[in-house]
């Protein structure tokens, strides 16, 4: 049986003037897969992610995300995905509970579902005693775990994670990845960018972008074989050093 594709991308391109931010990228992502989306700063990751999230219209090519077309149904995409970035995810001056209620409401959960979700999330994250605490006074690691849980509060087919683990301690970073494994085991597709190369090893497959193009895409084991490298760090350096254009 063929695996179900939840992201299908063909020749997807975004041009600004004569600058190709992403240049004819092609790849598929499968249901429940943890897909690592790597690249140096300025390689075009953010542009590609914005197109896949329905936030930016491609110049050419095709892509469907969760069954919806990026050109014609960007709003349906937004309803069916989750998104979390390290820079912005939660409202700092709302409490833990208020953030859960706010995002659940935005994603159209019923009042009854919101009450259930709030109880189950607080208990799962051991945040019952902090439910009325402002998010800004939570430790970073707790914030990130809460942000991830909220990003999948509406059971999206896919969740996009943009450098979710920057700056957290090594234990919390691993707890975060265990939440990713768990979501993936439940069938949620994970699309994740990271600067930590050991995290690339946790992905089922990894793509590496260089100067707007996908230069490599395979499982970590095969990539290391292909480039005759010991670690994903070596693979990344080999490819990213070929980049000609300036970062950012």
């Amino acid at each position: 049986m063929e695996r179900e594709k939840v992201i299908e991308v063909k020749e997807l391109t975004k041009k600004y003037g004569d600058f190709y931010a992403t240049n004819a990228i092609t790849f598929d992502v499968y249901k429940g897969e943890i897909f690592g989306f790597l690249g140096a700063n300025g390689a075009g990751k953010t542009t590609a992610m914005r197109m896949l999230c329905g936030l930016s219209k491609p110049s050419s090519g095709q892509a469907t995300v969760a069954g919806f077309d990026v050109f014609h149904n960007p709003d349906d995409i937004k309803r069916n995905i989750g998104y979390m970035s390290q820079k912005f995810s939660l409202y700092e001056d709302l409490t833990v509970k208020e953030n859960i209620r706010f995002y659940s409401g935005i994603y159209g959960l019923s009042s009854k579902q919101i009450i259930e979700k709030t109880t189950s999330l607080l208990s799962k994250l051991h945040l019952e005693e902090e439910k009325n605490t402002l998010v800004k006074s939570l430790p970073l690691g707790w914030k990130q775990k809460l942000a991830f849980s909220i990003a999948i509060v509406h059971n999206p087919a896919i969740v996009f994670l943009d450098e979710p683990t920057g700056g957290v301690d090594p234990i919390t970073r691993r707890e975060f990845w265990e939440m990713i494994y768990e979501a993936s085991a439940r069938g949620t597709t994970i699309f994740v960018t990271t600067h930590y190369m050991d995290e690339a090893e946790y992905c089922n497959r990894v793509s590496i972008m260089v100067d707007g193009c996908i230069e490599a895409l395979d499982t970590p084991i095969n990539l290391k074989k292909q480039f005759n490298a010991k670690t994903m760090d070596d693979v990344f350096l080999m490819l990213a050093r070929k980049a000609k254009r300036q970062a950012d």
């Binding site: 301690d169 946790y202 300036q246």
Partner: protein
């Protein structure tokens, strides 16, 4: 003479009416010419420590000297002698590259020409853009300009607060190469980072977590102090394997580590049985700094 000396530094902040101990009785010395890494996650106290050592804020208690000068009573001498690159880009966005550099040279009573040799290696990479406003530079170029500005008065001690945070692996390597070359010029460098893999690039490191020093030594010596046998295990289904390890009473601790899970076992036979069940690859490995950091964090939690 000791380049940087910190003795029993403590600093508390009020956050939402409760007291947070940003630095808890921190003591260490840095030798002249040393490349000294302060390694820890967000909230460890790295920035607070650097701000106290550069005389920008005062500690609640303790003593600190930089280049022999007291950070409280002789702050003016210190400011002439140190270079400081804060974590957030803090040059003048609407001045050009060259204007920024000129500005910092002038307030330190020197000129670009006088110390050009020191920054040449770094500045040459951004010189083609010298008429561009700093705000219009890419992240990597901003970083190089900030480093040039922090060096233009030839400081004896350089403080770099998380210079590589959010920077990709290639640019991180380049930045550390620049630091290595700077070191040969005899400048003492203190650099903070949340990336554990940068530890091996330092002469000595201080591992920090929640305002406390977990350990301070050469990277090799920190690794030697890891006193458990460390196993690496790999199977087809890594998540099921991890859950099984967690539920096995013969396993002391298991956590994902790159393509393997790292395991500390109470009973080796139990681990081998489990490995057989999963048809897993099992081997003994040397710990790296991140293993040591995790172990030290756990000791800290147990003793708390």
């Amino acid at each position: 003479m000791i380049a940087v000396q910190a003795q029993n530094i403590t600093k508390k902040f009020l956050q939402n009416k409760s007291e947070v101990i940003a630095l808890n009785d921190i003591s260490f010395d840095v030798n002249p010419g040393e490349l000294f890494g302060v390694i820890g996650p967000d909230g460890a106290g790295k920035t607070t420590l650097f701000r106290i050592l550069t005389s920008l804020i005062l500690a609640d208690s303790g003593l600190a000297k930089v280049d022999g000068f007291d950070v409280v009573t002789q702050y003016k001498d210190i400011r002439k002698r140190v270079g400081y690159m804060p974590g957030r880009f803090s040059l003048y966005q609407d001045l050009t590259v060259e204007e920024n550099l000129n500005f910092f040279a002038t307030i330190f009573n020197t000129s670009i020409a006088e110390n050009y040799e020191l920054i040449k290696d770094i500045y040459e990479q951004i010189a083609p853009f010298k008429d561009r406003r700093a705000g219009q530079l890419s992240g990597g170029m901003k970083q190089k300009l900030a480093l040039s500005c922090a060096l233009i008065h030839r400081p004896s001690v350089l403080f770099l607060d998380e210079p590589t945070t959010g920077v990709d692996a290639v640019s991180r390597k380049e930045f550390w190469d620049m630091l290595k070359r700077l070191k040969t010029q005899g400048i003492t460098i203190l650099v903070s980072t949340p990336y554990m893999d940068e530890a091996s690039l330092c002469d000595r490191i201080a591992l920090m977590q929640k305002g406390k020093l977990l350990g301070i030594d050469t990277p090799d010596e920190i690794l030697n102090q890891f006193d458990n046998k460390l196993w690496a295990i790999k199977a087809t289904d890594m998540y099921s394997l991890l859950l099984a390890l967690r539920n096995d009473p013969t396993i002391n601790h298991a956590y994902p580590f790159g393509e393997y899970h790292h395991v500390i076992a109470n009973d080796e036979n139990g681990l081998k049985l489990l490995a057989n069940k999963f048809n897993a690859e099992l081997k003994i490995v040397q710990p790296d700094i991140e293993d040591c950091f995790i172990a030290l964090m756990q000791d800290e939690t147990l003793s708390a």
